[in-house]
């Protein structure tokens, strides 16, 4: 391998990439944008649900009931309505997503020991969000009812409130979430997004960079010169890997500081495995570039090949362990799953090579095979 030729190819590639506006943004801007767009788009936590109330009772108990909602971080109070007819347009325009309607004689009937119905209207457009909203409403309502019962029992039996509570609810459930104590989806998703962006950006840059030369015909400069296949591939891919190596840092910083994901593991270990993963995805891009002849085809195939396994099998939305058995097998065929394990392991669990070595070894095998296939497919004397 002649270093001078490698350097010639690499420096040419670097200059072309940073001078071409499209490639420059693909290299440095697009990864950041993807991180932002997917990050804010995929965080599944339902908080600050805008809601309104219609209080027909105007009693101290009804105010107390509604106050529970106002205090919750899950709800965002948008105002009190006097007429039910005002509800419909507000829901339709999505200004509010839930309405709580307190009937007349709410306090009177409760104090008389009668059951009262509180009507709750929830926007059902997105079932997941509606279910979660319903869950919150039920939780607040249950807590309020329980307190009423506790107060009642305490009064009748002449017990202290705590004692009454123990009587009514003998088993108290205590849940502690590990690794993601607040069960914030951002904690889980932001690190996985680092994986997503590293699956998408490096192969896209690589595939477009090589196919661009094929499309224009400048690849013939390589074919017709004495630069060896290995020299060309090393020189051509080095700038792309370097760009991705820089992007790993940027993405990590965004995950930790912008999305406030905790990072508990070894930074060096994470960086090394991320770089290994970049070699894999760059290899994917290389293979795509050798099989197609136009930039459009390269872009479409690369995006499909990257997005589908990442979204469906990479453990981004649904953990691999929760997949159906056949799907689980498919998931094991893509390198994304193994890197997701590493990402979640280093970010949330703080584990390193001692636990993740099986995933790391699989990635090493992937990197070596994909790059070898790319080298083997590249011909300086093609038949077309």
């Amino acid at each position: 391998m002649n270093v001078r030729r490698v350097a010639a190819v690499a420096s040419k590639e670097w200059r072309e990439t940073v001078r071409d506006r499209m490639f420059l943004s693909l290299a440095f801007l697009i990864p950041i944008l993807w991180m932002l767009v997917f990050g804010y788009g995929m965080v599944l936590d339902v908080e600050n649900i805008p809601y309104a109330v219609v209080d027909r009772d105007h009693s101290s108990l009804s105010r107390d009931y509604l106050y529970r909602f106002q205090q919750s971080r899950y709800f965002d109070f948008k105002g009190a309505l006097t007429d039910e007819r005002e509800v419909e347009p507000l829901l339709a325009s999505s200004r509010i997503r839930a309405v709580i309607i307190i009937p007349e004689k709410f306090q009177e009937r409760l104090l008389a020991g009668q059951a009262v119905g509180v009507q709750t209207l929830v926007d059902g457009t997105f079932p997941l969000r509606s279910d979660i909203t319903k869950g919150y409403v039920i939780a607040i309502n249950t807590a309020f009812s329980e307190e009423l019962v506790v107060a009642h029992v305490a009064r009748i039996k002449g017990l202290a409130p705590d004692r009454a509570r123990q009587l009514i609810q003998p088993i108290k459930l205590e849940v502690r979430y590990l690794y993601n104590q607040e069960v914030k989806s951002a904690w889980t998703i932001a690190p996985a997004l680092v994986m997503l962006v590293l699956t998408l950006a490096p192969p896209l840059l690589t595939a477009l960079g090589i196919v661009r030369e094929k499309e224009r015909g400048s690849i013939y400069n390589i074919y017709s010169s004495t630069v060896s296949r290995l020299e060309f591939l090393v020189g051509k891919l080095a700038p792309y890997v370097a760009i991705s190596a820089f992007n790993i840092l940027v993405l990590w910083l965004m995950a930790v500081y912008l999305f406030a994901a905790p990072f508990k593991g070894n930074g060096l270990f994470f960086y090394a495995t991320a770089l290994l993963f970049v070699f894999i995805t760059t290899g994917q891009g290389l293979i795509v570039s050798l099989l197609v002849n136009t930039q459009q085809a390269a872009a479409i195939i690369t995006v499909v090949l990257s997005i589908v396994p990442t979204m469906l099998y990479g453990g981004l939305l649904v953990p691999v362990s929760a997949l159906a058995p056949q799907t689980k097998v498919i998931a094991h065929l893509f390198p994304e799953m193994y890197f997701t394990n590493i990402v979640h392991g280093t970010f949330l669990k703080g584990v390193g090579i001692e636990v993740l070595w099986p995933d790391v070894s699989v990635l090493v095998v992937y990197a070596i095979s994909l790059l070898s296939i790319g080298y083997w497919l590249f011909r300086k004397r093609p038949s077309v």
């Binding site: 030729r5 400048s218 400069n221 390589i222 074919y223 017709s224 010169s225 300086k380 038949s383």
Partner: protein, 664 residues
């Protein structure tokens, strides 16, 4: 060259001087044979030409020789190495420089001139010190030294082409393989390119294999092969090729022209109308007999201004193609509503100006085109031709000036203008997945023709454009020449009185081009359609009735092709062709002796002379004192390319003078 068996040539070169030996070469793409049994033998030190239209198989052959494409049958020997594997190809690549097809496409647009050169040199491991020397010399020689730091994408076509040449030759290969290096470049840049190439090759004793689609460049080669549909139709030195189809070109005027053409066509295969002139190829080789046979076949029409010349190589190729049986379908112009011959103006441009930012792309352009006239707009890339067409079409508003097309003011007419004109572009804008008939019906639909009109126009187009038998063929599978005629038909579907043609014949073979021009001149003469044509094939400009030459946004010369030639002859003199035994040295001496416009054409030198006898004597003395033997000096007719080059050179010199004056 004596025919050799495949086996023999596989063992090695027969000739110690052989650089390339190709034998029984076949290259297939899927089932289609792009090159089908070609033999080629290139010797050290020569410029060998591969000539042929698009799709003739030139690129496949050159790529296989450069070792960047596999082939299916036959042998390719380069420097005595049989190139049959990637490993074998690697062995000869250091000795080869390959410039792939496409102007500037092998270069890197975002790198500067210097960075491009450095990249190629370092890829070839040229030592840095040597690189600096070669770079300086080549940049000076190509006059690119002022643009070292300019990004390649901001260079003009001619500059890109020169840079491509530098990059290909920076490692001083023994063999340069250049695939259509002059396509898409204006005549001035083309001439400069040939001069530089000849000088470089001679200085380093390089060999070159060069392909071109311009038939008129054939005389630039020492030896050449003419390719058509993957086969070699003729090969040898230009003189040898000329001998393959002996004959003479007879040029004259005859009225009425259409009747004369009809009569001539019964006896001659090659009859061309060039404006008011008729050009006929006859197999007679004696001038007097040639004239006589023409006169007799014309009957009672008397030819005037009769002139007999040696045929151009293009005429020879056409004759060879015709002999192969590639008979052009006869043009049958279906009867149409007779046009009352009116001299009404079809197009008029008055002081058109167009600015792009502060750049004046079109500068006070005025011209007139009458009905039934073919008007040619010539000029280099970026001279403003397309901008003028766009303004007249109402696509681009002019910054100043006025224009009328088919009686409508272009500024106010808007859509109305588009109903009265037809437009045919270089790209042909056809739908390749539709059949011929579907394409015509589609265009009829676009122009809102009703069922009856569509039926009539369909029949008319099929007959006019010679598309019979192709009606249900897919457009994408048609030969370029047929596709081009279909595009013309589609542009005429709504019977426009004015037709704009933007480089309509790019990539079409010579017979196809002549057939196309046949149709155009009939459309003009019989249907009275006015046409505005742009072309970079200077030999085609001869077909126009009237020409305007654009330079830097202005019209700098105007007139009929004959007028323009006569003007140049008056100003600069006649064209002398000098044959010598040492062309390179002879050219340098001639230039030193004050013949500033001297240029190398293959092995011959062309120069302009106001006083041929005296200049001939002066030249002979100057050359013989250096031991150059002058074999022959001939007066040749000027071509339009000579006119173009002369005009532009004069303007460039004026421009440089003003720049210097301003600096002083």
């Amino acid at each position: 060259m004596a025919p050799t068996s495949t086996q023999h040539s596989a063992l090695g070169p027969q000739h110690s001087d052989t650089v390339i030996n190709v034998s029984a070469f076949v290259k297939r793409y899927k089932k289609y044979a792009a090159v089908d049994g070609v033999d080629l033998d290139v010797r050290r030190g020569e410029i060998y030409g591969l000539i042929g239209p698009d799709g003739a198989g030139k690129s496949s052959l050159m790529k296989a020789i450069a070792g960047v494409l596999t082939y299916d049958e036959g042998t390719v020997n380069v420097f005595g190495t049989l190139v049959d594997s990637e490993r074998a190809a690697e062995r000869v690549k250091q000795r080869i420089g390959f410039l792939p097809q496409g102007l500037g496409l092998s270069l890197y647009p975002d790198l500067s001139v210097e960075e491009n050169i450095d990249f190629f040199a370092r890829l070839r491991l040229v030592p840095e010190q040597e690189l600096a020397q070669r770079k300086a010399r080549l940049l000076t020689m190509t006059r690119l030294d002022k643009f070292r730091d300019r990004a390649m994408k901001n260079l003009s076509g001619g500059m890109k082409q020169k840079l491509g040449l530098i990059c290909t030759l920076i490692h001083e290969p023994e063999l340069a393989i250049l695939d259509e290096p002059t396509t898409g470049v204006d005549p001035v840049s083309r001439r400069e390119f040939w001069a530089i190439l000849a000088e470089l090759l001679q200085a380093k004793g390089m060999t070159a294999l060069v392909s071109t689609a311009y038939m008129d460049e054939a005389s630039r080669f020492h030896r050449l092969s003419f390719l058509s549909s993957g086969k070699v139709l003729a090969s040898g030195t230009p003189a040898e090729v000329q001998m393959l189809a002996p004959g003479l070109m007879v040029t004259f005027e005859a009225t009425p022209q259409l009747d004369a053409i009809t009569r001539l066509k019964t006896q001659y295969k090659q009859v061309e109308a060039l404006g008011s002139l008729l050009r006929v190829f006859t197999e007679e080789t004696i001038h007097a007999t040639a004239m006589q046979s023409i006169t007799s076949s014309l009957g009672d029409i008397t030819p005037v201004q009769l002139r007999v010349d040696e045929p151009e190589l293009e005429d020879v190729f056409v004759a060879l193609l015709l002999r192969q049986g590639e008979q052009p379908t006869a043009v049958e112009m279906p009867p149409a509503t007779p046009v009352t011959s009116n001299d009404a103006l079809a197009i008029e441009a008055k002081g058109l100006i167009r600015y792009f930012g502060t750049f004046r792309a079109v500068d006070r352009v005025s011209f007139q085109v009458k009905s039934g006239e073919i008007f040619g707009l010539l000029g280099s890339n970026g001279a403003g031709k397309t901008t003028v067409i766009k303004m007249l079409n109402g696509i681009l508003p002019p910054t100043g000036g006025e224009g009328w097309v088919a009686g409508v003011e272009m500024k106010t007419a808007g859509e109305a203008i588009k109903e009265r004109i037809g437009y045919m572009s270089q790209a042909f804008s056809l739908y390749l997945d539709l059949t011929v008939e579907e394409n015509i019906r589609l265009f009829a639909g676009i122009y809102g023709l009703d069922r009856q009109e569509t039926k009539e126009r369909l029949a008319w187009i099929v007959s006019m454009a010679g598309l019979k038998g192709y009606e249900s063929s897919l457009t994408g599978r048609l030969p370029m020449g047929v596709r081009q005629r279909l595009a013309l038909g589609c542009a005429l579907v709504h019977q426009p009185r004015v037709l704009f043609l933007d480089e309509p014949t790019s990539g079409v073979d010579p017979i196809g081009r002549r057939h196309f021009w046949d149709i155009l001149s009939r459309l003009a003469r019989e249907e009275g359609v006015a046409m505005l044509v742009t072309t970079h094939y200077m030999s085609e400009a001869e077909h126009c009735d009237h020409l305007a030459l654009m330079y830097a946004g202005r019209i700098v010369a105007e007139g009929s092709p004959g007028d323009m030639k006569r003007q140049v002859e008056k100003e600069a003199g006649q064209l002398l062709e000098v044959a010598t035994d040492q062309p390179g040295l002879a050219l340098r001496r001639a230039t030193q002796a004050g013949f500033s416009g001297a240029a190398l054409f293959g092995t011959k030198i062309h120069l302009l002379s106001l006083d041929p006898p005296q200049d001939e004597a002066r030249l002979r003395t100057a050359l013989s004192s250096d031991g150059v033997h002058v074999q022959d000096v001939l007066v040749r007719p000027l071509s339009l390319e000579d006119v173009f080059v002369y005009r532009v050179m004069v303007l460039e010199r004026q421009e440089q003078a003003t720049v210097k004056e301003a600096a002083a």
